[in-house]
């Protein structure tokens, strides 16, 4: 932003361009708590009826709380695995003298660019063969593995910013490499761990294709699959219900995003997947 150009025409133009987007999000919220006359989009009454899915379970569908719990388990577990694997492997790639280190690093970079979703047919068949099809464990492992290269890459970036001298000092103080990593270096990258954890939780929470393909069963359904099957059911078309479930589903995402956007902005802007 420089001083010499007027900025209001730009603001105005972009506002107009952004209006439809704003409208979509505004109506996502408005429609869940109001009713509008047929053919109109101006609400004329307030209602909570669209939220009845929270206390009534439609026949043939899993209980919403069960589904929410599944989503929570799915997102949290895959996030924890990503954190554990990335915080260790990222450190190795950033700092340790292992044979083939640059080979690993190149490998992680290739994997990072490589679209893992193309492997889904093989993964689908393998999970069926080993009996992990339609189980949360299977899909959690797959999700964690797919997000892992990105996580390793991000954590390596954070480790790279920790001064070498801190590690050298730790070693001179007599600590083992493990101790140095664990009690001196890891605390320095806590913001990175937090950002990556948040990011991969959101990735897990939003994931649709993997659970849809690998774990579609009622017992292990997650919110995205639940909502998609609700929408796909031609017999019960109820946009307000869809939106209420949708709002219920997206609320944690929006809350986390607005609360921690400073942490997340870098990762979203860093040329990452998602």
């Amino acid at each position: 932003m420089t001083g010499n150009f007027r900025s209001w025409p730009v603001v105005l133009a972009l506002s107009l361009l952004s209006a439809p987007l704003l409208l979509m999000y505004a109506y996502l919220i408005v429609d869940t708590i109001t009713n509008s006359p047929v053919g109109s989009f101006v609400p004329n009454e307030f209602t909570l009826e669209h939220w009845s899915f929270l206390w009534e379970t439609p026949r043939g569908r899993p209980n919403i709380w069960r589904v929410t719990l599944n989503s929570l388990v799915f997102a949290t577990s895959s996030c924890l695995i990503v954190l554990a694997v990335s915080s260790t492997a990222g450190y190795v790639l950033s700092r340790l003298n292992v044979p083939g280190r640059s080979f690993f690093l190149a490998g992680v970079m290739v994997l990072h660019a490589f679209p893992a979703i193309t492997l889904i047919v093989a993964i689908f068949l393998v999970l069926q063969m080993v009996g992990l099809y339609n189980s949360l464990v299977g899909v959690i492992l797959v999700k964690a593995a797919i997000d892992m290269p990105l996580g390793i890459w991000i954590m390596k970036g954070f480790y790279d910013t920790v001064p070498w001298e801190i590690e050298m000092a730790g070693i001179q103080d007599g600590a083992s490499r493990f101790r140095v990593w664990h009690s001196l270096v890891l605390p320095q990258v806590r913001p990175g761990l937090f950002a990556l954890g948040l990011f991969s939780f959101l990735l897990g929470w939003s994931e649709f294709i993997l659970p849809q393909v690998l774990a579609p069963g009622n017992q292990v359904q997650v919110l995205s699959v639940y909502l998609a099957s609700l929408i796909a059911d031609d017999n019960n078309f109820d946009m307000a219900l869809f939106k209420s479930v949708g709002l219920f589903y997206i609320a944690p995402v929006l809350i986390l995003f607005f609360a921690f956007q400073n942490y997340l902005m870098n990762i979203y802007g860093g040329g990452t997947k998602g």
Binding site: I166, M168, I171, Q172, D173, G174, L184
Partner: protein, 351 residues
């Protein structure tokens, strides 16, 4: 503890940074490794503490060969230029860390930490975090952490580089005081000659991976072995003039200065030499006349520093008690003391 580097060689990939260095640090002395940036001071330091593996040669602590011993087992304390305090630990926890690693009892740790804090005068800061300390205070904490486990050697890598001028002066004498009080063998890496001269028992001056001269500060100042050493020590620095060996004297090219040929072996007639004159050896008294124009006067309080431009355009410096009889652009005739002049051959070696 006596430290000995014997035939120490260090390469990074194909680049050999240090080749076949021999360096002895005597028990209880403080030795300065002095040299320009990139000459290999830190590399030498890292080899002593074990962060780097040596490519060739041996490192002895006392009689013990530590060449292949991991840094954790060498018992070397290091103070880094950036202090490298652990940002998430308090001062107390920072100093306690080396003791915790050694699994000392809590009482013992707290006793030793307090003792160390008293030594470096930071008793009141123990509860703070490094970010809440001034540079000088951080420096003291780093010293305390390096010393708390009573290392055999203390290594300091440019410990004063990040301090402002006043603190630097203060910490210079503090570090020396602590070193003397603990009697520890210490190596100070610096590229500041004043630091090296004022703090250390001996100076090892390095250039391009080699040690050029090891001597006490005064010995080195008065008797530099090469042009490089002479140029490195002294503030304001020594000035050099090109000359040719003439008939019983050295003629300074482009001027009518003639230096009487002193004792010692000078090269044959017509050889080119370099003559070094320190500022304090040029002034109203002396035996060799020098004519020139005062091109710059820097007032330093008690003394003035004059730049004297010779007819050939070269500049000599002279430091003298403040005087008011000469000023800028005056043409003057001053004198050098020929017994205090250094003559170097073309290869830079002292003649």
């Amino acid at each position: 503890m006596r430290i000995l580097l014997d035939g120490f060689t260090k390469s990074f990939g194909a680049v050999t940074v240090i080749e076949n260095m021999k360096l002895e640090i005597k028990d209880g002395e403080m030795l300065a490794l002095l040299g320009p940036s990139g000459c290999g001071k830190s590399t030498t330091l890292f080899a002593i503490c074990g962060i780097h593996k040596v490519t060739g040669g041996r490192i002895l602590f006392g009689d013990k060969d530590v060449t292949r011993i991991a840094p954790q087992e060498r018992n070397v304390g290091v103070v880094f230029q950036s202090y490298a305090l652990y940002p998430h630990k308090t001062v107390e926890e920072n100093i306690a860390f080396p003791l915790q690693v050694r699994r000392l009892s809590a009482d013992e740790i707290s006793r030793q930490v307090n003792e160390m804090a008293r030594l470096v005068h930071i008793e009141k800061l123990l509860g703070r975090r490094p970010a809440e300390l001034s540079g000088g205070q951080q420096q003291r904490v780093a010293l305390a952490r390096a010393l708390v486990r009573r290392p055999d050697v203390l290594l300091l890598d440019e410990p004063l580089a990040n301090l402002d001028a006043k603190l630097r002066l203060e910490m210079r004498s503090e570090i020396r005081r602590i070193q003397l009080e603990t009697g520890i063998t210490a190596v100070l890496v610096t590229h500041d000659q004043v630091e090296a001269m004022s703090m250390c028992d001996r100076i090892a001056i390095m250039d391009a991976g080699r040690i050029i001269q090891i001597a006490t500060p005064s010995e080195m100042y008065e008797n530099p072995r090469t042009e490089f050493v002479a140029g490195f020590l002294g503030n304001p620095p020594i000035a050099f003039l090109n000359g040719v060996v003439g008939d019983g004297a050295i003629d300074i090219s482009g001027t009518d200065i003639r230096l009487p040929k002193s004792a010692g072996a000078l090269p044959s007639y017509g050889a080119r030499v370099v003559v070094g004159i320190r500022p304090e050896n040029l002034g109203p008294a002396g035996d060799v006349p020098v004519k020139g124009r005062i091109s710059f006067v820097e007032t330093q309080g008690r003394e003035n520093l004059y730049d004297l431009t010779l007819p050939n355009g070269r500049v000599l410096r002279s430091i003298q008690p403040v005087r008011s009889d000469v000023g800028l652009n005056d043409e003057v005739e001053w004198f050098m003391r020929s017994d205090r002049i250094f003559v170097f051959g073309e290869d830079g070696a002292r003649l």
